[in-house]
């Protein structure tokens, strides 16, 4: 079965698009943890909001797809600053309290969405039809666009983190907040910036994910599960680790999901996590504690 180029191509393209979405989710999650020591249990719900934003912008208000997908992160992340002010800022540098408190936020957001939008699943119509052929491999264009958008976002994230003063400040704060503050870094502003970036990435991932599957108040569960697996695989707070974990999980799921179905893929990814915990509990790229 694996020798068939069509199946192989499908696995590769699906693997790439899943990986890129997973990396977007996990990057934000690990960024929030690395800088603010906040375990964001509500991360999947911001992805859900991203999905709904794309649904409204593209399917209801009929904006051009590219404009809609660019607007989505801002539409979610900027209003989310209100939540940052109301909820998140109380939990900075308090890991234990943040987990439980944000679980509460997670539940409040799911059920608020349920009251507002009901439980039924909405489909976002496909933005691009048609397929591309490379030799024997057939790739649907919308999957390629998903991969392209994610890669652009990842490149932007990389530039922000590595080549700007803001990125430098964020990396400094991730290493040691107090020392960063004594060097004149305004940590309050850095927190806000990191928050907007993380939530924006989650929203973008949610929009792309909702485009592939469907949009509903419960759609955040899967991205949250994924973010957990990815950060455990890659090591929490480690940005290259999130990338590596995302690729591993995306391809595992694509391969097993294509050959054996979705639930086998989920069991397998959990099995991998357990194996990793036995042999390298600090993650593939994390540091031993």
């Amino acid at each position: 079965m694996l020798t068939s180029p069509i199946v192989l191509g499908q696995i590769v393209v699906n693997g790439l698009s899943l990986s890129s979405i997973y990396i977007l989710v996990a990057l934000g999650f690990t960024l929030l943890f690395g800088i603010m020591r906040v375990v964001n249990f509500a991360h999947g719900e911001f992805a859900m909001l991203g999905g709904f934003s794309l649904y409204y912008l593209y399917a209801v208000f009929k904006l051009p797809w590219l404009l809609a997908i660019v607007l989505v992160p801002f539409m979610v992340a900027l209003p989310a600053l209100l939540l940052e002010w109301l909820v998140f800022r109380w939990f900075y540098q308090k890991m234990f309290q943040s987990m439980i408190g944000l679980l509460g936020l997670n539940m409040a957001m799911i059920y608020t969405a349920l009251i507002a939008w009901d439980a039924f699943e909405r489909n976002i119509p496909a933005a691009f039809d048609g397929i591309v052929r490379f030799g024997g491999i057939i790739a649907p264009i919308d999957r390629l666009v998903t991969i392209g958008i994610s890669l652009l976002a990842l490149a932007g994230f990389y530039l922000l983190m590595v080549h700007t003063r803001w990125g430098l400040a964020m990396r400094a704060a991730a290493q040691d907040v107090d020392i960063a503050a004594t060097q004149g870094i305004d940590t309050r502003r850095i927190y806000k910036l990191a928050f907007v970036v993380a939530i924006g990435l989650a929203a973008l991932a949610g929009a792309l994910y909702g485009q592939i599957y469907s949009v509903s108040p419960f759609m955040g569960e899967r991205p949250l599960f994924v973010a957990f697996v990815v950060v455990i695989l890659g090591g929490m707070g480690s940005i290259p680790g999130a990338a590596l974990g995302g690729v591993l999980l995306g391809f595992t799921e694509s391969l097993l999901g294509t050959l054996y179905g979705g639930s086998v893929a989920a069991y397998a990814s959990f099995g991998i996590v357990i194996l990793l915990l036995i042999f390298r509990p600090w993650g593939l790229l994390g540091k031993p504690e």
């Binding site: 020591r37 375990v39 309290q97 943040s98 987990m99 439980i100 409040a108 608020t112 959990f270 915990l277």
Partner: protein, 336 residues
């Protein structure tokens, strides 16, 4: 990182002196006995079928919350506790219905199955501290729920498990089942209280405050954690078995992440530093939804917000209200 996790919990427990747990245990026991007696009488005084039902649900919630409390006291928050309740429920139902054993066989099998699973998975996941433990238990809860869904030949899948018999014909009446449930809850709470006030309880406190330090002074850290985890999960399975034989019908959503989270909420709202905390929480979380029956979704939103507020401003929970009150009166006294 381990130290971060434990100092976080330590700061949360500042308001309640750990050393006080031994001294408090006698008043605690007396109070619990009084509460149990009141509980035993109240539903009979109301004498309404619905009253018994609520009382029974409170008993199940109390077993679940108190057993989770044992794990939380070691500084680990488990997000898959109701999945273990589910393991007990399904195994018990399978043994009683499909294999045709009497109720007691199901109860024992359910309890043991849950404990066995905890014994298998515990040594792996209990090496993790703080955040990683929370994440992995969340994943485990999801996986177990998927197993309940997918293993249709045993669990009935999404349709659930039907026609589970009552423990005995007399217990088909909630009036009498209530006594069984109350007895079970009293037994579990007593055992949890006894464990926490014993030598092992002091180990548990030491582990929560600092695992490294506990290890250095000779506390068998990993063994104690596994022991506590297995006991707690056994109680969860025990409660699950009783639930299956009370409700007569179980399905995967009964044991999902929301239910696990509810058990955590009971501990958090009530207070994570004393055994009274989860009991207060269990009452609160069973009774309040009954008052808000017409607003099921809104009540989840409210609980979510309560959780945020409690964690942000009152990490000791309701059990620490006394301290908050003392602090406030002292402050105002100083002002005047």
């Amino acid at each position: 990182m381990a130290s971060i996790a434990s100092t976080d919990v330590a700061s949360a427990s500042e308001t309640a002196p750990v050393t006080g747990s031994d001294r408090m245990s006698r008043t605690t026991i007396v109070m619990l006995a009084v509460v149990a007696m009141v509980l035993a009488i109240v539903p009979y005084a109301i004498n309404e079928r619905f009253g018994y039902h609520i009382a029974i649900i409170v008993c199940f919630a109390a077993i679940g919350a108190c057993s989770l409390h044992l794990i939380i006291r070691t500084g680990h928050v488990s997000l898959c506790h109701s999945a273990f309740v589910g393991v007990g429920a399904y195994v018990s139902a399978y043994v009683a219905v499909t294999l045709g054993f009497p109720f007691l066989g199901g109860l024992v099998a359910g309890t043991l199955a849950s404990a066995l699973l905890a014994l298998l998975i515990g040594p792996i996941i209990l090496r993790l501290t703080g955040k990683y433990f929370v994440l992995i238990t969340f994943l485990l809860g999801e996986i177990l729920r998927m197993v309940f869904m997918d293993w249709q030949s045993v669990t009935g899948g999404a349709n659930g498990f039907n026609d589970i018999p009552a423990p005995a014909p007399v217990f088909a009446n909630p009036k009498w089942f209530y006594l069984l449930a109350l007895g079970a809850a009293a037994f579990c709470i007593a055992v949890c209280g006894r464990i926490l006030s014993s030598e092992i309880g002091r180990f548990v406190n030491a582990i929560r405050e600092s695992e490294t330090l506990a290890e250095c002074v000779g506390v068998p850290v990993i063994r104690t954690k596994i022991l506590i985890f297995v006991i707690a999960c056994a109680f969860a399975g025990f409660a699950g078995s009783l639930m299956a034989h009370y409700a007569r019908y179980i399905s995967p959503p009964n044991f999902g992440p929301i239910e696990s989270l509810n058990l955590v909420i009971m501990n958090v709202i009530g207070g994570m530093n004393t055994l009274i905390g989860p009991l207060i929480g269990a009452f609160f979380l069973v009774l309040v939804p009954e008052l808000l029956r017409d607003y099921v979704q809104l009540q989840h939103v409210i609980f979510g917000i309560v959780l945020i507020v409690v964690m942000a401003f009152m990490p000791g929970g309701m059990a620490s209200l006394k301290d908050v009150y003392a602090l406030m009166t002292r402050r105002s006294g100083r002002k005047s």
